[in-house]
Protein backbone atom coordinates (compact mmCIF):
# COMPACT_ATOMS: atom_id res chain seq x y z
CA UNK A 1 0.00 0.00 0.00
CA UNK A 2 1.50 3.33 -0.98
CA UNK A 3 0.50 6.97 -0.62
CA UNK A 4 -1.91 6.79 -3.57
CA UNK A 5 -3.68 3.77 -2.08
CA UNK A 6 -3.98 5.60 1.19
CA UNK A 7 -5.61 8.60 -0.47
CA UNK A 8 -7.95 6.35 -2.41
CA UNK A 9 -8.94 4.48 0.70
CA UNK A 10 -9.61 7.70 2.57
CA UNK A 11 -11.65 9.04 -0.34
CA UNK A 12 -13.66 5.82 -0.48
CA UNK A 13 -15.15 6.69 2.89
CA UNK A 14 -17.24 9.25 1.01
CA UNK A 15 -19.82 7.52 -1.14
CA UNK A 16 -22.04 8.78 -3.90
CA UNK A 17 -25.08 10.74 -2.81
CA UNK A 18 -28.53 9.60 -3.81
CA UNK A 19 -29.85 11.34 -6.89
CA UNK A 20 -32.70 12.91 -4.92
CA UNK A 21 -30.21 14.62 -2.61
CA UNK A 22 -28.97 16.53 -5.63
CA UNK A 23 -32.46 17.61 -6.68
CA UNK A 24 -32.04 21.24 -5.51
CA UNK A 25 -28.91 21.67 -7.63
CA UNK A 26 -30.66 20.04 -10.59
CA UNK A 27 -33.65 22.30 -10.11
CA UNK A 28 -31.41 25.37 -10.15
CA UNK A 29 -29.88 24.19 -13.41
CA UNK A 30 -33.31 23.67 -14.96
CA UNK A 31 -34.46 27.07 -13.75
CA UNK A 32 -31.43 28.61 -15.43
CA UNK A 33 -32.17 26.64 -18.59
CA UNK A 34 -35.73 27.94 -18.56
CA UNK A 35 -34.62 31.48 -17.90
CA UNK A 36 -31.97 31.23 -20.57
CA UNK A 37 -29.31 32.56 -18.26
CA UNK A 38 -27.75 31.04 -15.18
CA UNK A 39 -28.19 32.65 -11.84
CA UNK A 40 -25.30 32.05 -9.53
CA UNK A 41 -25.96 31.86 -5.86
CA UNK A 42 -25.12 35.22 -4.46
CA UNK A 43 -24.11 33.78 -1.19
CA UNK A 44 -23.74 30.53 0.62
CA UNK A 45 -26.66 29.11 2.43
CA UNK A 46 -27.15 26.44 4.89
CA UNK A 47 -30.51 25.41 6.13
CA UNK A 48 -31.90 25.50 9.56
CA UNK A 49 -34.13 22.56 10.21
CA UNK A 50 -37.32 23.70 11.76
CA UNK A 51 -38.48 21.36 14.45
CA UNK A 52 -42.04 20.24 14.05
CA UNK A 53 -44.38 20.78 16.90
CA UNK A 54 -45.94 23.68 18.61
CA UNK A 55 -42.92 24.93 20.44
CA UNK A 56 -40.85 24.77 17.31
CA UNK A 57 -37.60 26.52 17.81
CA UNK A 58 -35.05 26.60 15.11
CA UNK A 59 -32.55 23.87 15.59
CA UNK A 60 -28.92 24.71 15.79
CA UNK A 61 -27.08 24.50 12.56
CA UNK A 62 -23.82 22.79 12.05
CA UNK A 63 -21.99 24.06 9.06
CA UNK A 64 -18.72 25.28 7.78
CA UNK A 65 -18.36 28.97 7.53
CA UNK A 66 -18.78 30.27 4.02
CA UNK A 67 -15.62 30.76 2.10
CA UNK A 68 -13.84 34.01 2.36
CA UNK A 69 -15.02 34.56 5.83
CA UNK A 70 -13.09 35.02 8.94
CA UNK A 71 -12.08 32.26 11.26
CA UNK A 72 -14.81 33.49 13.54
CA UNK A 73 -17.10 31.73 11.14
CA UNK A 74 -19.42 34.64 10.72
CA UNK A 75 -17.39 36.79 8.44
CA UNK A 76 -18.70 40.13 9.46
CA UNK A 77 -17.22 42.90 11.48
CA UNK A 78 -18.11 43.24 15.07
CA UNK A 79 -20.73 45.91 15.40
CA UNK A 80 -19.85 49.39 16.39
CA UNK A 81 -22.77 48.98 18.68
CA UNK A 82 -22.73 46.68 21.60
CA UNK A 83 -25.24 43.86 21.83
CA UNK A 84 -26.98 45.56 24.70
CA UNK A 85 -27.76 48.53 22.50
CA UNK A 86 -29.02 46.35 19.64
CA UNK A 87 -31.31 44.42 21.96
CA UNK A 88 -32.48 47.53 23.75
CA UNK A 89 -33.46 49.01 20.41
CA UNK A 90 -35.21 45.77 19.53
CA UNK A 91 -37.11 46.02 22.81
CA UNK A 92 -38.11 49.61 22.06
CA UNK A 93 -39.25 48.58 18.59
CA UNK A 94 -41.34 45.77 20.10
CA UNK A 95 -42.98 48.25 22.46
CA UNK A 96 -43.88 50.40 19.49
CA UNK A 97 -45.68 47.60 17.63
CA UNK A 98 -49.45 47.94 17.46
CA UNK A 99 -50.58 46.08 20.53
CA UNK A 100 -54.09 45.11 19.54
CA UNK A 101 -54.57 41.71 21.12
CA UNK A 102 -56.03 39.00 18.86
CA UNK A 103 -59.33 37.29 19.58
CA UNK A 104 -58.99 33.91 21.28
CA UNK A 105 -60.56 32.16 18.28
CA UNK A 106 -58.02 33.55 15.82
CA UNK A 107 -54.79 32.03 14.59
CA UNK A 108 -51.25 33.30 14.53
CA UNK A 109 -49.95 32.99 10.99
CA UNK A 110 -46.16 32.89 10.57
CA UNK A 111 -44.42 32.44 7.26
CA UNK A 112 -40.76 31.49 7.27
CA UNK A 113 -38.60 31.41 4.20
CA UNK A 114 -35.52 29.26 4.08
CA UNK A 115 -32.71 29.34 1.58
CA UNK A 116 -33.48 27.34 -1.56
CA UNK A 117 -37.00 28.75 -1.53
CA UNK A 118 -38.33 26.33 1.01
CA UNK A 119 -41.26 27.96 2.77
CA UNK A 120 -42.83 27.02 6.09
CA UNK A 121 -46.25 28.33 7.05
CA UNK A 122 -47.94 27.78 10.37
CA UNK A 123 -51.37 28.65 11.73
CA UNK A 124 -51.35 28.31 15.47
CA UNK A 125 -54.40 28.75 17.67
CA UNK A 126 -54.25 31.98 19.66
CA UNK A 127 -55.68 30.32 22.78
CA UNK A 128 -54.46 26.84 21.97
CA UNK A 129 -57.90 25.24 21.85
CA UNK A 130 -58.40 25.04 18.10
CA UNK A 131 -56.85 22.80 15.49
CA UNK A 132 -54.02 24.59 13.72
CA UNK A 133 -51.79 23.77 10.78
CA UNK A 134 -48.08 23.44 10.20
CA UNK A 135 -47.82 23.56 6.42
CA UNK A 136 -50.58 21.06 5.60
CA UNK A 137 -50.29 18.97 8.73
CA UNK A 138 -53.03 19.33 11.31
CA UNK A 139 -51.99 20.38 14.78
CA UNK A 140 -54.55 19.33 17.37
CA UNK A 141 -56.05 21.96 19.62
CA UNK A 142 -56.55 21.17 23.28
CA UNK A 143 -60.17 21.50 24.46
CA UNK A 144 -61.17 20.71 28.03
CA UNK A 145 -57.95 18.83 28.62
CA UNK A 146 -58.39 16.58 25.57
CA UNK A 147 -56.79 16.77 22.14
CA UNK A 148 -57.54 14.61 19.09
CA UNK A 149 -54.71 12.46 17.75
CA UNK A 150 -53.88 13.23 14.11
CA UNK A 151 -51.47 11.36 11.90
CA UNK A 152 -51.16 8.43 14.27
CA UNK A 153 -49.12 5.46 13.15
CA UNK A 154 -52.04 3.29 14.17
CA UNK A 155 -55.02 4.31 11.99
CA UNK A 156 -57.48 3.09 14.63
CA UNK A 157 -56.16 5.83 16.95
CA UNK A 158 -56.85 8.59 14.42
CA UNK A 159 -59.09 11.21 15.97
CA UNK A 160 -59.25 9.57 19.39
CA UNK A 161 -58.59 11.86 22.33
CA UNK A 162 -55.57 12.11 24.56
CA UNK A 163 -54.78 14.28 27.57
CA UNK A 164 -53.21 17.63 26.84
CA UNK A 165 -52.51 21.13 28.00
CA UNK A 166 -53.23 24.01 25.63
CA UNK A 167 -50.28 25.79 24.02
CA UNK A 168 -51.54 29.26 23.21
CA UNK A 169 -49.70 30.99 20.36
CA UNK A 170 -50.45 34.35 21.98
CA UNK A 171 -48.59 34.43 25.26
CA UNK A 172 -50.46 36.47 27.83
CA UNK A 173 -48.78 34.47 30.59
CA UNK A 174 -45.35 36.03 30.21
CA UNK A 175 -43.81 38.71 32.44
CA UNK A 176 -43.60 42.30 31.28
CA UNK A 177 -40.42 43.48 32.96
CA UNK A 178 -36.84 42.57 32.17
CA UNK A 179 -36.07 41.18 35.61
CA UNK A 180 -39.18 39.06 35.75
CA UNK A 181 -38.48 37.82 32.23
CA UNK A 182 -34.94 36.87 33.20
CA UNK A 183 -36.37 34.89 36.10
CA UNK A 184 -38.93 33.28 33.80
CA UNK A 185 -36.21 32.24 31.33
CA UNK A 186 -34.20 30.83 34.21
CA UNK A 187 -37.17 28.79 35.40
CA UNK A 188 -38.10 27.53 31.94
CA UNK A 189 -34.68 26.96 30.45
CA UNK A 190 -34.31 24.21 27.88
CA UNK A 191 -30.65 23.47 28.49
CA UNK A 192 -28.48 23.32 31.55
CA UNK A 193 -28.97 26.18 33.94
CA UNK A 194 -26.76 29.05 32.85
CA UNK A 195 -26.24 27.63 29.34
CA UNK A 196 -26.14 30.75 27.19
CA UNK A 197 -26.55 28.78 23.99
CA UNK A 198 -29.77 27.13 25.19
CA UNK A 199 -31.00 30.46 26.49
CA UNK A 200 -30.43 32.01 23.07
CA UNK A 201 -32.57 29.30 21.50
CA UNK A 202 -35.26 29.84 24.13
CA UNK A 203 -35.34 33.53 23.19
CA UNK A 204 -35.61 32.61 19.50
CA UNK A 205 -38.45 30.19 20.28
CA UNK A 206 -40.45 32.93 21.98
CA UNK A 207 -39.69 35.51 19.30
CA UNK A 208 -40.35 33.21 16.38
CA UNK A 209 -43.64 31.31 16.07
CA UNK A 210 -45.31 32.84 19.08
CA UNK A 211 -46.84 36.26 19.58
CA UNK A 212 -46.12 38.30 22.67
CA UNK A 213 -47.88 41.43 23.86
CA UNK A 214 -45.56 44.41 23.24
CA UNK A 215 -44.53 44.74 26.89
CA UNK A 216 -43.52 41.07 27.08
CA UNK A 217 -41.70 41.20 23.74
CA UNK A 218 -39.75 44.21 24.97
CA UNK A 219 -39.00 42.46 28.26
CA UNK A 220 -37.75 39.43 26.33
CA UNK A 221 -35.13 41.43 24.43
CA UNK A 222 -34.19 43.41 27.54
CA UNK A 223 -33.69 40.16 29.42
CA UNK A 224 -31.60 38.84 26.54
CA UNK A 225 -29.46 41.97 26.76
CA UNK A 226 -28.45 40.99 30.30
CA UNK A 227 -26.88 37.72 29.17
CA UNK A 228 -23.09 37.83 29.50
CA UNK A 229 -20.88 37.02 26.53
CA UNK A 230 -23.11 38.27 23.72
CA UNK A 231 -21.58 39.72 20.57
CA UNK A 232 -23.16 42.10 18.11
CA UNK A 233 -22.32 41.71 14.43
CA UNK A 234 -22.81 44.29 11.73
CA UNK A 235 -23.87 43.39 8.22
CA UNK A 236 -25.31 39.96 8.69
CA UNK A 237 -28.11 38.56 6.57
CA UNK A 238 -31.05 36.41 7.53
CA UNK A 239 -32.08 33.26 5.69
CA UNK A 240 -33.68 35.29 2.90
CA UNK A 241 -30.61 37.46 2.48
CA UNK A 242 -32.17 40.48 4.18
CA UNK A 243 -29.45 42.59 5.77
CA UNK A 244 -29.48 43.37 9.45
CA UNK A 245 -27.50 43.39 12.65
CA UNK A 246 -26.91 40.18 14.49
CA UNK A 247 -26.61 38.98 18.03
CA UNK A 248 -24.69 35.83 18.78
CA UNK A 249 -22.83 34.21 21.67
CA UNK A 250 -19.92 31.88 22.22
CA UNK A 251 -20.38 28.18 21.52
CA UNK A 252 -20.59 26.13 24.69
CA UNK A 253 -17.32 24.58 25.81
CA UNK A 254 -16.82 21.07 24.49
CA UNK A 255 -18.85 21.64 21.31
CA UNK A 256 -17.85 20.14 18.01
CA UNK A 257 -15.47 22.40 16.12
CA UNK A 258 -18.23 22.73 13.53
CA UNK A 259 -20.78 24.01 15.98
CA UNK A 260 -22.09 27.44 15.22
CA UNK A 261 -24.14 29.39 17.68
CA UNK A 262 -27.45 30.75 16.52
CA UNK A 263 -27.59 34.27 15.24
CA UNK A 264 -30.55 36.52 15.89
CA UNK A 265 -30.96 38.98 13.04
CA UNK A 266 -32.65 42.33 13.56
CA UNK A 267 -33.50 44.92 10.93
CA UNK A 268 -30.82 47.60 11.15
CA UNK A 269 -33.30 50.45 10.91
CA UNK A 270 -36.55 49.28 12.44
CA UNK A 271 -34.85 46.85 14.88
CA UNK A 272 -37.55 44.29 14.31
CA UNK A 273 -36.64 40.64 14.68
CA UNK A 274 -36.09 39.24 11.17
CA UNK A 275 -34.96 35.69 11.75
CA UNK A 276 -31.72 33.77 11.98
CA UNK A 277 -28.82 32.94 9.72
CA UNK A 278 -30.78 30.14 8.09
CA UNK A 279 -34.33 31.39 8.29
CA UNK A 280 -36.34 34.51 7.62
CA UNK A 281 -39.69 35.36 9.12
CA UNK A 282 -41.39 37.13 6.22
CA UNK A 283 -44.95 37.38 7.53
CA UNK A 284 -46.52 37.32 10.95
CA UNK A 285 -50.16 38.21 11.47
CA UNK A 286 -53.39 37.11 13.10
CA UNK A 287 -55.99 35.54 10.81
CA UNK A 288 -59.49 34.18 11.38
CA UNK A 289 -59.08 30.68 9.94
CA UNK A 290 -56.33 28.09 9.81
CA UNK A 291 -55.10 28.04 6.22
CA UNK A 292 -56.03 31.66 5.57
CA UNK A 293 -53.25 34.02 4.50
CA UNK A 294 -53.24 37.68 5.52
Amino acid sequence: MDDLDLIRERADAVGLAAAEDLAPARERLLAAARAGRPRRARRWFWTAGAAAGLAAGITAVVALAPAGETGAGVGVGVAQADPVRVLTEAAAAALGEPGTPPRPDQFLYVKTEFPDHHVREVWLSVDGTRDGLIDDTKVPGCRDGKAPIYGANDPSKEGTLEDCRPSPAYRTDLPTTADAMSAYLDDHHSGEKGDVNALGKDVITLAYEQALPPASAAALFEAAAKVPGLTALDHVTDGAGRPGVGITWPVPPGSSPRAQPELLVFDATTHRFLGTRGSAVTAKAFVDQAGQRP
Binding site: I7, A11, A25, P257
Partner: protein, 195 residues
Protein backbone atom coordinates in the same frame (compact mmCIF):
# COMPACT_ATOMS: atom_id res chain seq x y z
CA UNK B 1 -14.92 7.00 -16.57
CA UNK B 2 -16.90 4.74 -18.86
CA UNK B 3 -20.63 4.92 -19.06
CA UNK B 4 -22.87 2.02 -19.76
CA UNK B 5 -25.48 3.87 -21.72
CA UNK B 6 -25.17 3.79 -25.45
CA UNK B 7 -27.11 6.99 -26.02
CA UNK B 8 -25.57 10.04 -27.57
CA UNK B 9 -22.26 11.02 -26.08
CA UNK B 10 -21.89 14.14 -23.97
CA UNK B 11 -20.58 16.21 -26.86
CA UNK B 12 -23.70 15.69 -28.95
CA UNK B 13 -26.02 16.25 -25.99
CA UNK B 14 -24.21 19.51 -25.18
CA UNK B 15 -24.36 20.55 -28.83
CA UNK B 16 -28.11 19.96 -28.91
CA UNK B 17 -28.54 21.73 -25.58
CA UNK B 18 -27.38 24.94 -27.21
CA UNK B 19 -30.77 25.00 -28.91
CA UNK B 20 -32.69 23.07 -26.28
CA UNK B 21 -31.31 24.26 -22.93
CA UNK B 22 -33.35 21.77 -20.92
CA UNK B 23 -31.33 18.91 -22.42
CA UNK B 24 -28.41 19.96 -20.26
CA UNK B 25 -30.14 18.08 -17.43
CA UNK B 26 -28.91 14.90 -19.15
CA UNK B 27 -25.33 16.02 -18.47
CA UNK B 28 -26.28 16.67 -14.85
CA UNK B 29 -27.83 13.22 -14.50
CA UNK B 30 -24.77 11.55 -15.97
CA UNK B 31 -22.13 13.27 -13.89
CA UNK B 32 -23.53 15.19 -10.94
CA UNK B 33 -23.15 12.43 -8.37
CA UNK B 34 -19.45 12.01 -9.10
CA UNK B 35 -18.76 15.72 -9.14
CA UNK B 36 -20.72 16.05 -5.89
CA UNK B 37 -18.71 13.28 -4.26
CA UNK B 38 -15.52 15.02 -5.34
CA UNK B 39 -16.75 18.26 -3.76
CA UNK B 40 -17.74 16.51 -0.53
CA UNK B 41 -14.26 15.00 -0.38
CA UNK B 42 -12.65 18.38 -0.85
CA UNK B 43 -14.96 20.85 0.88
CA UNK B 44 -17.17 18.74 3.12
CA UNK B 45 -20.88 18.09 2.81
CA UNK B 46 -22.01 21.52 3.92
CA UNK B 47 -20.38 23.29 1.02
CA UNK B 48 -20.69 20.62 -1.64
CA UNK B 49 -24.34 21.14 -2.57
CA UNK B 50 -23.95 24.80 -3.38
CA UNK B 51 -20.70 24.39 -5.25
CA UNK B 52 -22.24 21.53 -7.23
CA UNK B 53 -25.10 23.77 -8.32
CA UNK B 54 -22.66 26.51 -9.27
CA UNK B 55 -20.50 24.04 -11.20
CA UNK B 56 -23.41 23.06 -13.41
CA UNK B 57 -24.66 26.62 -13.80
CA UNK B 58 -21.21 27.66 -15.02
CA UNK B 59 -20.98 24.61 -17.28
CA UNK B 60 -24.41 25.43 -18.68
CA UNK B 61 -23.37 29.03 -19.33
CA UNK B 62 -20.18 27.87 -21.05
CA UNK B 63 -21.75 25.06 -23.06
CA UNK B 64 -21.18 26.95 -26.30
CA UNK B 65 -17.44 26.78 -25.61
CA UNK B 66 -17.35 23.05 -24.88
CA UNK B 67 -14.88 21.26 -27.13
CA UNK B 68 -17.15 18.88 -29.00
CA UNK B 69 -14.16 16.78 -30.04
CA UNK B 70 -14.30 15.37 -26.50
CA UNK B 71 -17.03 12.80 -26.05
CA UNK B 72 -16.89 12.79 -22.26
CA UNK B 73 -17.72 15.98 -20.36
CA UNK B 74 -16.63 14.74 -16.96
CA UNK B 75 -13.03 16.07 -17.04
CA UNK B 76 -14.41 19.45 -18.13
CA UNK B 77 -16.84 19.39 -15.18
CA UNK B 78 -14.05 18.34 -12.81
CA UNK B 79 -12.11 21.34 -14.07
CA UNK B 80 -14.95 23.78 -13.36
CA UNK B 81 -15.51 22.23 -9.95
CA UNK B 82 -11.78 22.43 -9.15
CA UNK B 83 -11.80 26.08 -10.11
CA UNK B 84 -14.59 26.70 -7.66
CA UNK B 85 -12.78 24.68 -5.00
CA UNK B 86 -9.77 26.90 -5.55
CA UNK B 87 -11.88 29.90 -4.59
CA UNK B 88 -12.62 28.12 -1.35
CA UNK B 89 -9.03 27.33 -0.46
CA UNK B 90 -9.48 28.36 3.10
CA UNK B 91 -12.66 26.37 3.44
CA UNK B 92 -10.89 23.34 2.03
CA UNK B 93 -7.95 23.61 4.38
CA UNK B 94 -10.40 24.16 7.21
CA UNK B 95 -12.24 21.01 6.18
CA UNK B 96 -9.01 19.03 6.22
CA UNK B 97 -8.14 20.40 9.64
CA UNK B 98 -11.65 19.82 10.85
CA UNK B 99 -11.34 16.19 9.90
CA UNK B 100 -8.27 16.09 12.09
CA UNK B 101 -10.47 17.22 14.93
CA UNK B 102 -13.53 15.08 14.31
CA UNK B 103 -12.03 12.10 12.56
CA UNK B 104 -12.77 10.84 9.09
CA UNK B 105 -16.28 10.03 8.00
CA UNK B 106 -17.22 6.51 9.09
CA UNK B 107 -15.98 3.95 6.61
CA UNK B 108 -18.33 1.56 4.90
CA UNK B 109 -19.79 -1.06 7.15
CA UNK B 110 -18.47 -4.53 6.63
CA UNK B 111 -14.88 -3.92 7.58
CA UNK B 112 -13.89 -5.89 10.55
CA UNK B 113 -10.57 -4.35 11.26
CA UNK B 114 -9.04 -4.76 14.62
CA UNK B 115 -9.21 -1.79 16.88
CA UNK B 116 -5.46 -1.38 16.77
CA UNK B 117 -5.57 -1.29 13.00
CA UNK B 118 -8.30 1.28 13.12
CA UNK B 119 -6.38 3.46 15.50
CA UNK B 120 -3.27 3.40 13.39
CA UNK B 121 -5.32 3.95 10.24
CA UNK B 122 -6.84 6.94 11.98
CA UNK B 123 -3.42 8.29 12.89
CA UNK B 124 -2.26 7.71 9.35
CA UNK B 125 -5.33 9.45 7.97
CA UNK B 126 -4.65 12.45 10.16
CA UNK B 127 -1.12 12.61 8.87
CA UNK B 128 -2.40 12.39 5.35
CA UNK B 129 -4.88 15.21 5.86
CA UNK B 130 -2.18 17.34 7.40
CA UNK B 131 0.09 16.62 4.45
CA UNK B 132 -2.69 17.44 1.97
CA UNK B 133 -3.46 20.69 3.76
CA UNK B 134 0.19 21.70 3.46
CA UNK B 135 0.46 21.07 -0.28
CA UNK B 136 0.45 23.81 -2.85
CA UNK B 137 -3.08 24.13 -4.21
CA UNK B 138 -2.13 23.14 -7.76
CA UNK B 139 -0.32 20.07 -6.48
CA UNK B 140 -3.27 19.09 -4.30
CA UNK B 141 -5.64 19.43 -7.28
CA UNK B 142 -3.56 17.05 -9.38
CA UNK B 143 -2.91 14.56 -6.60
CA UNK B 144 -6.58 14.29 -5.61
CA UNK B 145 -7.89 14.10 -9.17
CA UNK B 146 -5.49 11.25 -9.87
CA UNK B 147 -5.56 9.34 -6.59
CA UNK B 148 -9.08 9.91 -5.28
CA UNK B 149 -11.03 10.50 -8.49
CA UNK B 150 -9.16 8.13 -10.74
CA UNK B 151 -8.58 10.51 -13.65
CA UNK B 152 -5.77 9.76 -16.07
CA UNK B 153 -2.97 12.25 -16.72
CA UNK B 154 -4.54 13.42 -19.97
CA UNK B 155 -7.90 13.93 -18.30
CA UNK B 156 -6.33 15.94 -15.48
CA UNK B 157 -4.49 18.02 -18.05
CA UNK B 158 -7.76 18.65 -19.83
CA UNK B 159 -9.62 19.43 -16.60
CA UNK B 160 -7.07 21.92 -15.31
CA UNK B 161 -6.07 23.25 -18.74
CA UNK B 162 -2.39 22.54 -18.12
CA UNK B 163 0.12 20.47 -20.15
CA UNK B 164 0.44 16.78 -19.34
CA UNK B 165 4.08 17.39 -18.39
CA UNK B 166 2.90 19.80 -15.70
CA UNK B 167 0.45 17.20 -14.41
CA UNK B 168 3.28 14.70 -14.03
CA UNK B 169 5.66 17.10 -12.34
CA UNK B 170 3.00 18.37 -9.92
CA UNK B 171 2.00 14.83 -9.10
CA UNK B 172 5.54 13.77 -8.41
CA UNK B 173 6.20 16.81 -6.20
CA UNK B 174 2.94 16.27 -4.33
CA UNK B 175 3.65 12.59 -3.75
CA UNK B 176 7.17 13.36 -2.63
CA UNK B 177 5.88 15.79 -0.03
CA UNK B 178 3.10 13.52 1.18
CA UNK B 179 5.46 10.59 1.53
CA UNK B 180 7.90 12.75 3.46
CA UNK B 181 5.09 13.65 5.84
CA UNK B 182 4.01 10.03 6.19
CA UNK B 183 7.60 8.94 6.59
CA UNK B 184 7.21 7.89 10.19
CA UNK B 185 4.78 5.21 9.11
CA UNK B 186 5.83 2.08 7.41
CA UNK B 187 3.17 2.19 4.73
CA UNK B 188 3.59 -1.37 3.65
CA UNK B 189 3.10 -2.65 7.16
CA UNK B 190 0.09 -0.42 7.62
CA UNK B 191 -1.78 -2.13 4.84
CA UNK B 192 -5.27 -2.87 6.03
CA UNK B 193 -7.21 -6.03 5.28
CA UNK B 194 -8.66 -4.73 2.08
CA UNK B 195 -6.05 -2.30 0.81
Amino acid sequence: MTREDTEDDDASVITRSRREPGLFAVIFDRHARHIHRYLVRRLGPAAADDVLADTFLIAFAKRAKFDVARPDARPWLYGIATNLVSRQRRAEVRELKLRLAVGPPPAEAGHDEHVADRVSAQALGERLDRALAALRPGERDVLLLVAAEGLGYAEVAEALAIPVGTVKSRLSRARHRVRAELGAFDLVKETSDHG
